[in-house]
């Protein structure tokens, strides 16, 4: 009887102590902003292009953190970002609908440009140079290919073109292992 009391008493004491410590710690080290949201925001491109359907990257990050948004919505981020987000959030990304595109940038067909500046207002990264009634051009280094400028052009002068492979950014592709596969053996047999 006495032993049982001691057991109950000590367990209660331990529970109370730990509970107090945890409670105090939660209050002491409370984080105002959701750290996950901040981390997600840092992972997003941050160009505020709005193609995901949210106003900007911050809003998309918030939605992601709450689990309200799919991880596949960010077009400029591409497959790499989708996988990183899925990894971060511990979900499996559905890549079936995702079409991996090659990196692109906008290109202004100068003969068609009338200098209306609509694209300049649309561009979230100031990647379009030009002034009213003057021809515009794209600063390729600042363009991340969100394609928001394409629909606003009244003369269809903006097209998306793939980023060119040059001597500066060319690199070896993944080796194709010529490990004799069964298919090849069939080929040998013929």
């Amino acid at each position: 009887m006495y032993g049982m009391l001691i057991a109950i008493g000590s367990l209660t004491l331990i529970g109370l102590t730990l509970g107090t410590i945890l409670g105090a710690a939660a209050r002491q080290f409370a984080v105002k902003e959701d750290p996950l949201e901040e981390e997600l925001k840092a992972m997003l491109p941050g160009s505020q292009c709005g193609q995901c359907g949210y106003v900007g990257c911050g809003q998309y990050a918030a939605a992601l953190a709450k689990g309200e948004a799919e991880v596949t919505l960010c077009a400029p981020g591409g497959k790499v970002l989708i996988e990183a987000l899925a990894n971060k959030l511990g979900v499996t990304a559905d890549l079936s609908g995702h079409e991996e595109r090659v990196p692109e940038h906008a290109f202004i067909i100068e003969d068609l440009c009338i200098g209306c500046t609509r694209c300049i207002r649309e561009c979230s990264t100031d990647a379009i140079m030009g002034a009213n009634k003057l021809m515009h051009t794209i600063i390729v280094d600042a363009c991340h290919g969100c394609a928001k400028c394409v629909p606003v052009c009244p003369t269809d002068a903006i097209v998306m073109v793939p980023v060119q492979v040059t001597l500066r950014n060319w690199h070896w592709s993944k080796p194709e292992i010529e490990q004799t596969q069964p298919k090849q053996e069939v080929a040998h047999a013929h």
Binding site: P45, G46, S47, Q48, V80, T117, I120, R121, S124, T125, D126, A127, M129, G130, A131, N132, D141, A142, H144, V165, T166, L167, N169, W170, H171, W172, S173, K174, P175, I177, E178, Q179, T180
Partner: protein, 498 residues
């Protein structure tokens, strides 16, 4: 002199005898020279000539394009035929901007800068300037602008100028021949460089498989107590800058540091000769010795080639192909790059053109890794190639990066030794390319992020100003709303200013 061991390494078949006894011969001037704007690490040069211009030999036809860059000079007198895109000497076969020069056959030197009469009392800056203006880049293959490397003396205390005559790549004999035929020019150039760098000693390291070069250079150096010629063991990749420094000084260059941080600057022997020409005669770098060799070349040779000669011209001069080449390699067989086209020109970093037969290359189909560990044993960088390749194969590049794939300098020892013929170096080249891409991408994203932030702040400020203006005007009754067109114009003008 006491030497120190280096890690790993292999002993491939050197096959230097194919060309080592062939004295340097000059290539007859081809019908056209193709001089690319980028023959070096760094920014491309900027064109100074127009189509139809007449130029003299040694005239600068493109100027340095930045702090790390190098000018280009006409390798002979003639007429500029065009400035256009030409296939680069590169495995991709991609084009690059190239000046096409039609020789007039006179090979007349233009007005050259005055020789520096007494370089050993001259201001080091004058020598840097001369080397930079002469378009000299590292001639061992990396083609790093030499003047930038010579400037290291102004930032760091240097002790040794190490002249790299190891030439550890199989087949290549161009440095061997230059050392045997022009020892005095090399030593003079080296001493000028040592003066520019402020180093007290010059050490010339030559692999022991070049006994003639060692004896000739030793003899030529005997007059100068500060110049020392050292025979280093035959062990590929002895000619790697960091490993050669370790063999000579016993010190290991820390990752992400330069050998200059240890007080040692390494230059190639042919570079020293180019410095001699630039300082003593004012002649820029317009020609270099190229070893043309390999089992598929009829008459292997060491050819003094004007910069810009097509590789096809060079091969034709050496009798063409005697067998079907499996690969044409720019440089040595271990670290050289395969060439997609023979129309590409010889550039300042071209040490060799090899036409190799399938038997010489001895590549076989890849089989499974048996974890023999030979790649780990031979890796001069202390990496684990088999593990890195396994992770790269599964697209796990992050882990490969942690294992040090970026420390690999693609010396090829692991691929050479692998009994399963796994293309290890190809995996690493691929991984390095992708990791570099990702890094570039993330830099660009950072930039774009900040651009977007700047824009948001600006728009907010503009809105604020508008509200303030509106508020100020309100009492003065209903003024006309500000036109949006004007605002946009203001915005773009502001942008143009930034």
């Amino acid at each position: 002199m006491k030497l120190f061991p280096i890690l790993g390494g292999i002993h491939p078949e050197y096959r230097k005898e194919l060309a080592s006894e062939k004295a340097i011969v000059a290539l007859p001037m081809p019908v056209a020279l193709y001089i690319p704007l980028q023959q070096h690490i760094g920014a491309p040069a900027e064109v100074l000539v127009n189509e139809g211009d007449l130029v003299k030999k040694g005239q600068m036809i493109a100027r340095s394009g930045g702090a790390v860059s190098s000018p280009q000079h006409a390798a002979t007198s003639g007429r500029i035929k065009a400035v256009t895109d030409v296939t680069a000497p590169h495995p991709s076969g991609l084009p690059q901007t190239t000046i096409i020069l039609e020789p007039d056959g006179k090979d007349e030197w233009g007005d050259l800068p005055e020789p520096i009469t007494d370089p050993f009392t001259a201001d080091p800056h004058a020598i840097h300037e001369r080397v930079a203006q002469s378009g000299i880049v590292g001639m061992g293959g990396a083609a790093f602008p030499s003047a930038v490397k010579l400037n290291l003396g102004t930032q760091k205390k240097l002790e040794i100028l190490l002249l790299n005559g190891a030439e550890c790549e199989p087949y290549l004999t161009c440095d061997d021949r230059v050392m045997r035929e022009y020892p005095d020019e090399i030593i003079d150039g080296a001493r000028i460089m040592a003066h520019a760098l402020g180093t007290a000693r010059v050490v010339i390291a030559i692999e022991q498989n070049k006994p003639q070069a060692i004896s000739i250079m030793t003899k030529a150096a005997s007059a100068f107590p500060d110049v020392e010629v050292v025979g280093v063991p035959v062990q590929y990749p002895m000619g790697s800058e960091r490993h050669l420094v370790q063999a000579i000084t016993g010190r290991e260059t820390p990752a992400r540091k330069l050998t200059a941080d240890l007080g040692v600057v390494v230059h190639n022997v042919a570079t020293a000769r180019a410095v001699h020409h630039a300082v003593r005669f004012g002649r820029p770098l317009v020609a270099r010795v190229v070893t043309v060799s390999g089992g598929a070349i009829r008459e292997p040779n060491n050819v003094m080639t004007p910069i810009g000669a097509r590789i096809a011209d060079l091969i034709e001069f050496c009798g063409g192909f005697s067998a079907r080449p499996e690969s044409i390699v720019n440089g040595g067989p271990m670290m050289g790059q395969p060439l997609a086209s023979l129309d590409a020109p010889v550039v300042k970093g071209t040490s060799g053109i090899l036409a190799l037969t399938a038997e010489e290359i001895n590549d076989r189909p890849t089989s499974a890794c048996i974890r023999c560990g030979n790649c780990v044993t031979v890796c001069p960088c202390g990496l684990s190639p088999l593990d890195m390749a396994a992770f790269i194969r599964k697209d796990n590049l992050d882990v490969a990066a942690k294992l040090g794939v970026m420390d690999c300098f693609s010396c090829g020892s692991c691929s050479w030794v692998c009994p399963s013929h796994i293309p290890l170096v190809h995996y690493f080249n691929y991984a390095k390319g992708v990791l570099n891409d990702l890094e570039r991408e993330s830099r660009k994203n950072e930039r774009i992020k900040s651009l977007a932030e700047v824009r948001i702040i600006r728009i907010e400020k503009a809105a604020e100003a508008k509200r303030a203006a509106l508020a100020a005007r309100k009492p003065a009754s209903d003024a006309a709303p500000p036109s949006t067109g004007g605002e946009a114009k203001a915005a773009t003008e502001e942008k143009a200013n930034t």
